[in-house]
Symmetry: D2
């Protein structure tokens, strides 16, 4: 893409955990970003290997080698993206701050998403690492502003969880507007395997996964639940929302289809749901609310930073169904990171991102 890139000096980025899926997807997006240069990639067990071996689908040059994840290697960058298992970003970011007080740090992991130390302790383990600015620019806030306003001055950004994003985009407008019973929210999410990471585990093998659908995190244990409820509260929704949440691994590499249902308030129809969704999301470049009767599929968003949402009321059952599709690695992770980064760096919010998906 070099032929039509800007000739302005580019900002230097480092990606930590570059050998995993979230790190790799961040690199894929940054490779096409007009204002960013990937200067450093680091890894743990793959340190010392060339990036082109570990991620041969990228095209960042044959001479980019995975370095160890040390403060020294991360010093001197404008942006540092941490793609690490949860629990590991606190220490590295603290040390990074010492050398680079002005660097923008984005955490793709869960460590800094939650405000409540109690929530952290209930759903994760160990000490709460603190709360960073939440990387969901579109989120409407109770005071009428958007989360992007907070991101503009952020130096530390907690990138949302992929499932939490899909559910938040689905339900926030309806809960905020009081259209559904927020005490009886239910979401089932067919999800792709890349969300489970690149570490070799038996249940993630092709032969185990192909040909079937396998639920996990059933029964209220999933760690994205408190994050979703926090989003609903921040958006001006009630304090006491309740959500049951069941992801189902299905044989696809990418994609989340959040299917949310909830009893509707008396007299509420499909048009009310769509109006609320349109009201919150209609001006958002990366969110598309579909026409009545249309529902999204994840094939429509593969590789794109797009959220597509459809909704309906089933009058016989008295329930609303809202369905949102995202690519878990893009709008669910790396795309949200780049979008938030753009805002924090004063770049055009859409830079390096696309609404065009790869299909078939």
């Amino acid at each position: 893409m070099s032929s039509h890139r800007s000739s302005a000096p580019r900002l230097r980025a480092a990606v930590v955990g570059a050998s995993g899926y979230a790190g790799g997807e961040t690199l894929r997006l940054l490779a096409a970003h007009p204002a960013i240069e990937v200067a450093t990639v680091t890894a743990h067990s793959s340190a010392g290997r060339r990036l082109s071996e570990v991620a041969p689908h990228l095209d960042l040059g044959e001479d980019l080698v995975l370095a160890e994840t040390t403060p020294e290697n991360l010093a001197g960058h404008d942006v540092v993206v941490l793609a690490l298992p949860h629990g590991q970003s606190g220490e590295i970011s603290a040390r990074l701050r010492e050398s680079d007080p002005d660097a923008l740090v984005l955490d793709l992991g869960a460590d800094h998403r939650l405000e409540s130390a109690q929530d952290w302790s209930d759903y994760y383990a160990g000490e709460h690492a603190g709360t960073w600015t939440y990387g969901m620019p579109e989120l409407p806030l109770a005071d009428g502003s958007r989360q992007r306003d907070l991101l503009a001055s952020a130096r530390e950004i907690a990138v949302p969880g992929c499932n939490a994003s899909a559910v938040t985009f689905s339900l926030t407008p309806l809960v905020r507007a009081g259209l559904v019973d927020h005490r009886a929210l239910s979401v089932v999410l067919p999800v792709g395997y890349s969300g489970a990471g690149r570490t070799a585990k038996q249940h993630l093998l092709f032969s185990e996964a192909a040909g079937g659908a396998a639920p996990y995190g059933v029964g209220g244990t999933h760690r994205h639940i408190p994050e979703i409820l926090q989003n609903l509260r921040r958006a001006g929704g009630p304090d006491d929302a309740r959500l049951t949440f069941t992801p189902v691994l299905v044989p696809m590499s990418r994609g989340i289809l959040a299917v949310a249902t909830a009893p509707v308030a008396e007299g509420i129809g499909t048009e009310d749901l769509l109006a609320a969704l349109e009201s919150d999301w209609g001006a958002e470049h990366f969110i598309r609310v579909l026409e009545p009767g249309a529902f999204p599929s994840t094939q429509q968003v593969t590789g794109a930073n797009t959220v597509r949402i459809g909704a309906t009321v089933d009058r016989r059952s008295g329930q609303a169904t809202v369905i949102a599709a995202i690519d878990n690695l893009v709008k669910g992770t790396a795309g949200a990171a780049v979008q938030s980064m753009n805002i924090a760096l004063g770049l055009p919010e859409q830079a390096g991102l696309t609404r065009t998906a790869l299909a078939p």
Copy 2:
């Protein structure tokens, strides 16, 4: 399998619609059935072709040719299985009755499942063809008996819909026992593509389907809804249950994973759900209720006539989650047909069926 088959004279079966998936799966099971001989196969557009061309995975002999579906060709069989699009089985079965008053007829299509002509008119179209004995042997009935008692003397059997079966197995015990709010049932079902049939349609192409999850029949329009509510009523559940129901096509050929949620009654816990499931299904050969904390996947039932069910209560959300896995073509269609046929013919209920799945 001829080496260990009984040498008793076998009953003659005809399969109508043998070139489709439901017909083909019926043939696959009958090929291994110790008491049945497939004497006749018929088709519409494939008539005149050899079965071995249309279904080369079967092994029913090179000389079996697909005949036209005419009363003459169907006369003289002990069993006739109709695997036809809905709306087509009424006439053919009426004419068959004239020549073969004693033949057992099974309809894999929807025509004869519903009792209510109003339900038929609301969800399907055209005239209601009447109601046949419902082919779900395990269904507990309000009077304390089971559906298999009715099947023993049936000559006309309506085989259940595949999605309806998965949901019925999940929810019936909980609704009957009053453990969940029957007014707020919600089911999302990742389903495989074979349920959509073998007729070539663009959205069923491999390239359209692979790599994504696509909902259909959203918003209370799915035709299996009245069948499920009818099952709940027959099982002694309340008359006013309400259900929202969203199937999602995911990239697998076979399988249904029904994920059902509903608010639980005060004080109800996981053990209560499992006890109710165990009470209704514990003695059933083809239904396995899993241990606390265990949930099924569809990989575990591919090719088998098994239902696997897990359940839990999420105390934070106040909701129950019940998950059932079946193979849509076996327990969801052809296996249910063979099981019901066995009962109606006085054969061992398990003949020709297996609980062993093909994995990986």
Copy 3:
């Protein structure tokens, strides 16, 4: 992507057959092209529908409607891309020439690839439509130039067949250099389903395709064979090369992995093969010859315009193995078209194309 697009006036493009896979992929690439505006899209059976319905993964605006494919609708464009079944592009392009003598026309179909009317008659049917400039810029020609030199002044471009491209990239350097026995070339190609098009056919259904590998066009009947042999000749290879060629449909949407074998000449080793490949392809931006011992997979090129090639000599068997991976819809079709279009229009050859693939 508008944020970093050039503000120069853009050239107007029309895509004919926009509802199919080749047309859709062309649109996907043009959507990111800095110098092209998609002004018109046409289709046959989908005419009148909005593009956003037929190809919801694209982001070309909600108001783009599929027009009928008429000379009137195609008049007034700088570029017209024909994505039609073979046999249909001759007439439409002739009529287009009358109104727009200077428009650049690219044919993604087979009609204008072959020089020999006899070859056309042997492998296709009907009258030979003539020969256009072949859209493979990298092809070395017998006179020491490259095909891109001819493309610079072309107004009519025949875009190569996808399988023909994969095989040509694999074998041309070895045959040209006399390293292998050109009388005993053998290629087997696992290929994805999108190459078979978007028209609904039973054998292309997900349930038919998933879980298996199915050969087609076995035994020398495949229409890409004369195209490959023509390429070898143009590149200075012998006139009497012979090739057996077996594509195998495997359960992936995109991708071609050409696995070519041939007896090697006495004393030839892996380093000789790699040197010949490097000699012909080393300076090519979109072709990467891998290191000794490395071989490509199609996952590494999904969505990219890249060819990746590895080669080895098996001394025990006396045979060379050369393996090339491409994305059939990009480097195999739409990417080759855009690359050739760029050359013919005097744009940077790489504009709108990427070497970065989408993985996982």
Copy 4:
């Protein structure tokens, strides 16, 4: 299946390595075998777990627990099936012989397949464990007999490699009959992921595998090559056959499609190939030679013990193409084991095996 099983006392079997794919498939077949009872299952890292946890698709009873693989645990069985990584079966079988001199032992691993210690040393490593009776009943031998004649009295059986089987079935008749140039055999094999085993490795993850084709063992290094050449020799073929062999992992769980090409002798046509295949395989229950113009796909053999073979001569290229499809876990591994076991135990050769595949 108990309803139609024989009531004769059943033979006791032990399966070593029951938690892997080969062991699990052996159990799947034995579960349906009329004359065998699975008495013992053993494993290494999974020892102590219930089989129903590790292989929930089986139905061998909830009380079957994976034992340690010790001589004590394996003593007292009529049949012991070893499903171990190569290099591990020698010691365990030697110790087993001490306690159970008459037990039938089948090795699904490679240790005892090769006759030549040199071949072993060239392609594997360590000491050659010796040569057991080769478990391919259909193999014609140079003296006019079949391998099944040797199996009838065997107590130690080396089950063939899955790829070696597919290639042997394809090429043996043509090489024996001198129809093709045995010095220039070339085979490419799209294969499924289960052949790579159940141990978690990154390149076997769903997200790595889905959507692509990846070659491995390129360039004459594959360990099945000497086994194939040995089979050709045993069948009366020449001593100096040469074979290049490239497996390609494609996104399916099961299946091998061996696509073999070789130059044909002067004047040889399709009918000659089919006649040779029919001559060697026509009387074999589990091998089906297809009609002229027909070629197999792996979907047609999933779960079955069948080999399907098609062949043609491409007169333009002067090459033969022979294509064979098998299920790598059945005819390629566990089915071949059961078939050989049946012969060695004096049971009907087809017992517990089927020619009916699971499709779609």
